[in-house]
């Protein structure tokens, strides 16, 4: 499933990486502990988090994640956005909380698989 499909269905606000929304999303990972995300997320995952500081871009780049979704209408910090633009990492903002955001995306991916 392409990232723009998720953007459309969850009405996400695109804050960076708009040229990169056709990237394939193969799964998702939820977490605010960076060591957890670094260790356990997989390439192609969309990362759902509450962290908005710039180091999330380094994590997403290192793990080849499809994009970062910030929950609860939390906006990325200015430096985060700068880095995300530089690395062409999609940073998206969801008005929903973590649980609802993850649940909806899980359902979209599951529906595609059946």
């Amino acid at each position: 499933m392409k990232l723009d499909f998720i953007v459309e269905h969850l009405n996400l606000k695109v804050r960076s990486g708009s040229q990169n929304l056709t990237v394939e999303v193969t799964g998702g990972y939820v977490g605010d502990l960076l060591s957890d995300v670094i260790a356990n997320s997989k390439q192609g995952d969309v990362w759902i988090t509450r962290q908005v500081h710039q180091n999330i871009v380094a994590v997403a780049t290192l793990k080849d994640l499809a994009g970062i979704i910030l929950v609860g209408n939390n906006e990325p910090a200015a430096e985060t956005l700068e880095k995300a633009v530089l690395e062409n990492i999609p940073v998206l903002v969801s008005e929903l909380g973590c649980f609802e955001t993850a649940g909806k995306i899980y359902r979209l991916i599951a529906a595609r698989e059946t």
């Binding site: 180091n55 380094a58 780049t61 290192l62 793990k63």
Partner: protein
């Protein structure tokens, strides 16, 4: 940024400085190293595990030390990442190796670091891991990831 060894052929070695407390550039060395390993066309699993180890070592220097150096060495069989810092050192390494143990500050934790997972992750993803430390001077990590047969992705 770094000094290169004069080694030729298949062996490669390069060092990168890491500045303690500088969260602006945190992760930069890990990205550089991952890029170098990618260019060498090492197996993706080797790159992934080396990147995890490097990131954790880099973040430890940023979070806890004044400064440090990360050295990447690659030959046919192995990727060796050495992280040496000047910092306060670790009093009880066995304790530091326990899941969830951390001396991090509230500020570090707020950013999602300092969960007491870093050294544990390194231990899990490196094929060899040694840690030595001297209180008041610094810590040295040596992490080895074996390159399996062949060098294709």
């Amino acid at each position: 940024m770094a000094e290169k060894s004069a080694d030729r052929g298949t062996s490669f070695s390069e060092s990168f400085p890491v500045v303690g407390g500088n969260f602006d550039d945190a992760g930069k060395v890990s990205s550089r190293i991952k890029g170098i390993l990618k260019k060498m066309c090492l197996p993706s699993d080797v790159i992934r595990r080396a990147a995890i180890c490097t990131f954790e070592a880099e973040m430890n220097i940023v979070c806890y030390a004044q400064q440090g150096d990360i050295t990447l060495s690659v030959d046919n069989d192995r990727v060796v990442i050495k992280a040496v810092d000047e910092g306060e050192g670790i009093l009880d390494i066995d304790l530091a190796m326990q899941v969830g143990y951390s001396t991090s500050t509230a500020k570090i934790r707020e950013m999602g670091f300092g969960a007491g997972m870093g050294l544990v992750n390194i231990d899990r993803y490196a094929d060899e891991f040694t840690i030595t430390s001297e209180v008041g001077r610094g810590t040295q990590l040596v992490m080895v990831v074996y390159v399996a047969d062949g060098s294709q992705q």
